[in-house]
Amino acid sequence: MQTQQPLHPGLFSWPGSSPQLLGSRCKDCGEHAFPSQHSCRACGSERTEVVELGNAGTLWTWTIQSFMPKAPYLTDETPENFRPYGVGYVELACGIKVESRLHENSANALRIGLPMKLEIVPVRLDNDGNQLVTFQFRSAEAL
């Protein structure tokens, strides 16, 4: 039976009613990282733990990917039906900024400081017909 599966394990808590990004927190210096890291980039400690990073933040910077990237880009899109997509860094409550695809893909829909929320979206079908999903952010304003 075909199912929905995460494109990569450990990036977000899923399935569930309110998926959260998952990352790591250093037990020695308290710094967070996404995705979770076995060793801390701030202090080099190997004492890290996986924690929920939340599902909301504000847009710190952004751009729009206007042409279809070459490999390793891998989706179900073709050059004919490729749609430009937004890319940004979203600042989370813990302070780190996470790089993400954005639902919005036009310059007039995006601005620094925009409140954003996490969503789980399809990427492509795998060889067995399973739907692979990943995370992205979308504007939380005026919905």
Binding site: H8, T61, T63, S66, L74, K97, T134
Partner: protein, 381 residues
Amino acid sequence: MTDVAIVGLGLHPFGRSPSLSGLEQGAIAARAAIADAGTEFKAMEFAFGGSQDGGNADSLVNLLGLTGLQFTNIWNGCATGGSSLNAAYSAIKSGQYDMGLVVGFDKHARGAFNPQPKDWGLDDWYGETGLMLTTQYFAMKIQRYMHDYDISRETLVRVAEKAFRNGSITPTAWRQTALSTEEIEQAPMVSEPLNKYMFCSPAEGGCALVLCRADIAQKFTKNPVLLRSAVVRSRHYGSFEVFSPSQAPAVAPSPTVTASHAAFEFAGIGPKDVDVAQLQDTEVGAEIMHLAENGFCEHGEQERWINEGATEINGILPVNTDGGCLANGEPVGASGLRQVYEICHQLRGTAGKRQVPNAPKVGYTHVYGAPGISGVNILTT
């Protein structure tokens, strides 16, 4: 301790050379540099060389002669040329050698680079979902910078205009056609706010320099250029770098800032002493940000500087007089050495139509590249 001098300059023009391998372009540059110094390859006691896609630099001995010299391959991304120069500087400064060669060359496929996540310690999802593009990083860095320091789109256009205007008077440049404001403004958008004419392209080419002890330099040239410092630095925790799935809460200075500080300190020279500079301009935003990161102006001052013509060939700090990466393209292994080649011509007074007036005496070069590495060289007459 002896000073270190650059006494030979060689370049194979950047761009596209379908009939030549990358290695052959490196050999042409090396021969030109050695001839410029009036000497022979067998006089080279050492060589440091590097290439990303053009093969092993030490294969050059098959073309230049099997003389038995110490030939060390250097690969350090965009800072490859800077790292080779740093190694050559140390080899001469330490007294180990009197004379040697630094060479870089490359031959990249057309179109944007397509780096693989595994090579950068990342998992496949990062590339598969379309986040592994250097163009996005550069666009997002300047987007935030424009917001923080109130830099306008017009300034981005002006930087591109200058690059192609300088390229049009540089016989070895790849792009030798000046572009109008309208042509640049109306080019297709690549990654908001940067369009097609605001990015450099991967290219081909070769560049080489002959270095020796300063006290014997007059045997090889009447106008040696002194390499006063050659510094390479990597990133700190918190600097905003390419291929980063997340960034730290606190923003740390970029490796450019630390490399620049160290280079000025070693050389005993300050930013106000610099007469001509080459700053990494893989896109127009980089040139704007690098003006401040290298200490030439305050953050946010760039718009006024550029409007006043400060970075033009006749300005107070001419920047990228040969059109930089924007007009020359970027063969990664050779690009940093091209900057030094151009500064040496400016300091010799042999830069032709693009010569900076009033006999410049202090030059500066800067590269920055993935995953957060920077190289700075300071040169004087």
